[in-house]
């Protein structure tokens, strides 16, 4: 399946785009997505940390992804 991944802040610069599409196995989970992203964009591993959100909620590694999910890479936040 294709998963669309939104990128913000420095992740947008690392991806070179506000969103990218990633090829994943059916029912792949967040953990697997992170592994794929880190392989394609090794600079992600240099961040202090980053999280993944699924449908506007922070998601843990085991959470399964679907093609219609809105997935986002969340680098360290710095609002306020």
């Amino acid at each position: 399946m294709k998963v669309k991944v939104l990128a913000f802040g420095i992740a947008k610069e690392i991806f070179g785009s506000r969103h990218i599409e990633v090829d994943m196995a059916e029912a792949a989970n967040v953990q697997q997505l992170k592994a794929v992203l880190e392989q394609q964009f090794p600079r992600l591993k240099q961040l202090a940390s980053y999280l993944v959100a699924v449908n506007d909620e922070y998601a843990e590694g085991p959470q399964a992804l679907g093609e219609r999910d809105e997935v986002a890479v969340i680098p360290p936040v710095s609002g306020g």
């Binding site: 939104l6 913000f8 802040g9 420095i10 947008k12 610069e13 240099q46 961040l47 202090a48 959100a53 506007d56 909620e57 922070y58 986002a72 969340i74 680098p75 360290p76 936040v77 710095s78 609002g79 306020g80």
Partner: protein, 138 residues
């Protein structure tokens, strides 16, 4: 009453205060974030704020709801600005009213502290000779 806004227009502090005023409130605490001229000794020219807007609104609402559970507060407004801000401009205003001031202070401080940890908004500092996404790297 919880009022959460993300906007690229200048924030109206007095409007935030008016919004949380209530005849049964005895105290209002307001936190106003401002863009500082210097960061770690380097001159900041301006900041750029970017939000994952739908999620940021949701996360701010969660913080407000948690504050309402933890303290007897009456009304809360959280307004965050995005886009380009100059030194002295205001990226965030949090106003909290309560019957008694301790709750307003505690809830306001909790809200800004938690906002800075969990709400998906990012700040880029632009200096004379470069720019940096704040907190991105160790």
């Amino acid at each position: 009453m919880i009022d959460i806004q993300i906007t690229d227009k200048p924030l109206d502090m007095q409007a935030c205060i008016n919004m949380v005023m209530h005849p049964q409130c005895g105290g209002i605490d307001v936190f106003i974030g401002t863009v500082r001229e210097l960061t770690k000794g380097k001159q900041v020219l301006r900041l750029e704020f970017e939000a994952y807007e739908a999620m940021a609104l949701k996360e701010m609402r969660k913080i407000a709801e948690t504050a309402f559970e933890k303290w007897p507060v009456q009304r809360m407004a959280i307004h965050h600005r995005t886009g380009v801000l100059e030194v002295g401009e205001v990226p965030v205003v949090i106003a909290v009213s309560a019957a008694h001031r301790a709750a307003a202070f505690d809830a306001c401080r909790y809200t800004i502290d938690t906002l800075k940890q969990t709400v998906p908004i990012w700040k880029k500092e632009i200096f004379e000779n470069g720019e940096v996404w704040v907190a991105a790297h160790p």
